[in-house]
Symmetry: C2
DNA sequence: GTAAATACGAGTAAAAAAGTCGTATTTATT
DNA sequence: AATAAATACGACTTTTTTACTCGTATTTAC
């Protein structure tokens, strides 16, 4: 429990790689995948998603690839996580309100508080801190 | 991602229930399960685990049940989570070191830092804060 | 025209979590 | 002593989530 997904892990690895590779221009999915031993297709999808989110930019065609375009200092881990994986909540009823026992539940409020603490923590960390 | 398990959720519900039920002495698994609409067997196992961990005390036989014995102010959420679910880490390689790409990995150190932040946060919250 | 790259939906496989079953033990009640 | 209601717990099954793969289309340098 309390784990991040591989998708997020791969995204972070890729971002850091692209950042230290900035001067060389584009980086292909294949290059990252083979360098770190991660599945290329899965990584590609993740890169595509980050491209849709304007964190990186895609260039098609042979000799294409991806390039960092966002300022990683300005993106919080909370926003990044939620862009890739949807809303962050310790339990499903943290955001999705059709919980069966929502009537009887005796820990809804305190869990909500802990949840806010966690979101807060991730709001105060930036992508830059992970990739620097 | 970043979710707690039902086991932990049920444990918290049970603890809070027992706490507000303190003067009445024992509480049975059946009572809690039916009150909150959670699976009795699963809850029972969780209660048994907490009993092994000396958070609650079990009394066997008919009219048996469980009773809070620990001081919830003194148990951090981190310790509680780890007692129920094992070591807390954002990724498996946070504690288990046989990660394949541990050689090439470029985010090990920063992830470790974030992980520490998270553990820290849960170290500073007590069970009492959830059950009060 | 070809080859190497991105784009993306659909489908499959693997892993983790959630829940169930069976059986043993304890003990208050009768 | 028998019964019934509770805890104890390992093994198993089901469900859900995550991880991964496949097929096909598109773009574009050469
Ligand atoms: S379990 Fe859904 S509100 Fe508490
Ligand atoms: S992925 Fe295992 S050390 Fe980074």
């Amino acid at each position: 429990m309390l784990k991040i997904t591989r998708k997020v892990e791969y995204a972070l690895i890729a971002l850091r790689h692209m950042q230290s590779n900035k001067e060389n221009g584009l980086t292909s999915a294949k290059e990252i995948a083979s360098h770190y031993g991660i599945p290329q297709q899965l990584l590609a999808k993740t890169l595509q998603q980050m491209a849709r989110d304007d964190i990186i930019e895609a260039v098609q065609g042979p000799a294409g690839g991806y390039r960092l375009i966002a300022n990683l200092d300005l993106i919080s881990l909370k926003d990044f996580f939620e862009q890739l994986e949807g809303p962050m909540g310790l339990m499903d009823c943290s955001f999705d309100s059709d919980c069966i026992q929502i009537g009887a539940c005796n820990i809804r409020v305190p869990i909500q508080r802990i949840n806010n603490n966690m979101r807060n923590m991730f709001s105060q960390m930036t992508l830059q801190e992970v990739t620097q």
